[in-house]
């Protein structure tokens, strides 16, 4: 851990000779993720020569770079065991972090996702209810009353890793995964919840489906949700589901 300021310590690691991981903590916590988001916001606004792209996750940001271009940056570094481009990146990031307000609490965007719970869209709703000794309506009420932080996007295009689900409806994954989970499916895996942007195999317990498109390659950005968003689920009827689906087509 390197102390950047009195309040901020970070770890940095290489990911091969062309990427660096900048880590703001060791666990899944909104305060750590907020620092991740603050750093990401800086990178979005100040892309630098040599940076190819970044991937943000729960507790760290990985920056991919071209060592040839980074070596050409006018950054003074001391000799060391690590490659020149890595040492320059470390130096650069340490300087950048001093200028970022990590405690800035920006206004998180709230995204409301309509969900038609149960029925053919939520074949595992009854199982989730039984597992937690609740009625299916109670599962719906608990799931749709929460506010969920999007910690990161990954696994599949636009797939959100959401935090903040009530332990009252936590349910283990299915013992054997389904070969194809339909687009828009909303599911539970352990104490996580999420929604599937594309059809893919998966072992999550499916409790409903959203008619909203989470991944649209023609749009820029191509995904509805972004790290740092707050997601709320709103129960809708099958009729409302069909109306929204129809309007999107």
């Amino acid at each position: 851990m390197v102390s950047i300021t009195k309040e901020l310590s970070v770890d940095m690691y290489p990911l091969g000779e062309n990427a660096i991981m900048v880590e703001f903590g060791k666990c899944i916590h909104p305060d750590i993720n907020r620092k991740v988001m603050a750093f990401v916001e800086y990178l979005e606004q100040h892309p630098f020569e040599g940076m190819l792209e970044y991937i943000s996750a729960y507790k760290n940001v990985t920056i991919f770079y071209d060592p040839l271009l980074v070596n050409a940056l006018p950054i003074e570094v001391e000799a060391g065991e690590m490659p020149l481009s890595y040492r320059k990146m470390v130096q650069f990031i340490e300087e950048v972090l001093k200028t970022i307000d990590m405690n800035k609490t920006g206004q998180a965007s709230i995204v409301e996702l309509p969900v038609c719970y149960g029925g053919e869209f939520g074949p595992d709703l009854a199982f989730v209810a039984k597992h937690n000794q609740l009625s299916t309506q109670e599962v719906i009420d608990i799931h749709s009353s929460g506010e969920y932080l999007v910690y990161m996007i990954g696994f599949a295009p636009g797939f959100p890793f959401l935090g903040g689900m009530s332990e009252k409806i936590a349910t283990p994954r299915r013992s054997s995964p389904r070969l194809a989970i339909p687009v828009g499916s909303v599911g539970i895996a352990g104490s996580q919840t999420g929604a599937y942007p594309i059809e893919t195999p998966g072992g999550w317990q499916l409790i409903g489906r959203t008619p909203v498109e989470l991944f649209c390659p023609q749009n820029n950005p191509p995904t509805l949700l972004h790290a740092g968003n707050i997601v709320k689920f709103k129960p809708i009827t099958l009729k409302e589901y069909k109306a929204i689906r129809g309007a999107n087509k």
Binding site: Y13, P14, L15, G16, E17, N18, A19, M21, C27, I28, V40, L52, E53, Y54, I55, S56, A57, Y58, K59, N60, T62, F64, P67, L68, N71, E81, M82, P83, L84, S85, Y86, M152, I153, G154, F155, A156, P157, G158, F159, F161, P197, I198, T200, P217, P221, P222, T223, H226, A227
Partner: protein, 335 residues
């Protein structure tokens, strides 16, 4: 100007460098497996280095050229021939109208790259022409090429004119003409056993037993049939953690060697997920990703440890080499 697919081969897709800048949205990068052969292919026909090409896997397609077309074939040697006559690789080739390009035995390597001057007329999706089949994204209709597909090229007369003098130095007989000059590749493996692949240590390697680490660098690993563009699953000595390790999902990259709980390492490749939660054991040096791409299931790899400094030096040397090739070809075309 178009190319008709008579038969598609095993897996032929349009790929370029990949979708840079979209992994933060969870978009799989895709792109070619062997970036070195890909770049050289585009350079040989004077394209932008990142232009889309055909990536041809193990068994090649049969393609009919409906106009005189300037192409090059690089990468693995899948015995390309035009109207039955062997066609040399790693150099510009003018294919005459109505000729048929086909492929035969896999002699060396695994993946060939076919570039056409001007590139293929393929819509750019999220900054790239690359095909990601699992999501039906990009490339030619989001899928591998199929029988009867018609691929338009962006070749213009000026593309052909640029090469006119060079091509006229060779005899005009037969169904194709090549230049007297060519690029000599060094990265295509000549054997199928103990192919050396240089790696650096992964961030979690010290969580594995010392015995596992030693064996990893001493015993060969076989690429299993459950290997594809997403990743190669390896069979060999299992790598064991000293104690269970609970990881929080984070970025992975092209060439990350991760170890799931069963201890059989997986090398993540072009169609990898953006993030993962398995411990990172090692990382393939960027220059040797081009070697990995040319290794087939059933072949064996011998991992060689290098420092990050050595990996960076190899990277910079490769960039220097590519620059020289570019200059040499510009020189030929102007002379």
């Amino acid at each position: 100007m178009s190319i008709k697919v008579i038969s598609p081969g095993l897996l032929t897709t349009i790929q370029d460098y990949g979708r840079t800048g979209y992994q933060k949205h969870g978009i799989i990068a895709s792109g070619v497996m062997d970036r070195y052969s890909f770049r050289i292919a585009n350079i040989l026909v004077d394209n932008d280095e990142n232009e889309g090409v055909m990536e041809i896997t193990f068994m090649g397609p049969m393609l009919s050229f409906q106009a005189d077309t300037l192409i090059t074939i690089t990468g693995g040697d899948l015995s390309p021939n035009i109207n039955g006559e062997a066609v040399p690789m790693w150099r510009p080739v003018l294919v005459k109208k109505d000729s048929v390009l086909s492929f035969g035995m896999m002699k060396a390597g695994a993946r060939a790259y076919l570039a056409v001057a001007g590139g293929f007329d393929i819509p750019v999706v999220m900054g790239s022409k690359s095909t990601y089949i699992r999501a039906g994204l990009g490339g030619f209709k989001g899928r591998a090429l199929a029988k009867e597909d018609l691929l338009s090229t962006l070749q213009t007369k000026s593309h052909l004119d640029k090469f006119k003098t060079e091509l006229s130095k060779q005899s005009e007989q037969g169904s194709f003409v090549t230049t007297p000059w060519f690029f000599a590749p060094t990265h295509i493996p000549a054997t199928s056993e103990n192919i050396a692949v240089r790696v650096t240590r992964g961030n979690q390697i010290n969580h594995f037993t010392e015995e596992s680490i030693q064996k990893f660098f001493r015993k060969p690993y076989t690429i299993t049939p459950e290997s594809d563009r997403m990743g190669y699953r390896l069979a060999g000595e299992v790598v064991k953690l000293k104690a269970p390790l609970e990881m929080i999902s984070e970025a992975v990259s092209f060439g990350t060697i991760q170890a799931p709980p069963d201890g059989n390492p997986i090398i993540l490749l072009a169609d990898r997920q953006t993030a993962g939660g398995y411990p990172k054991f090692a990382q393939v040096a960027v220059v040797d990703l081009a070697v990995i791409a040319q290794i087939c299931p059933g072949n064996t790899i011998a991992f060689v440890e290098v420092s990050l400094k050595e990996a960076e030096a190899l990277y910079l040397q490769r960039e220097g080499d590519v620059k020289e090739v570019k200059q040499a070809i510009k020189f030929h075309l102007k002379a």
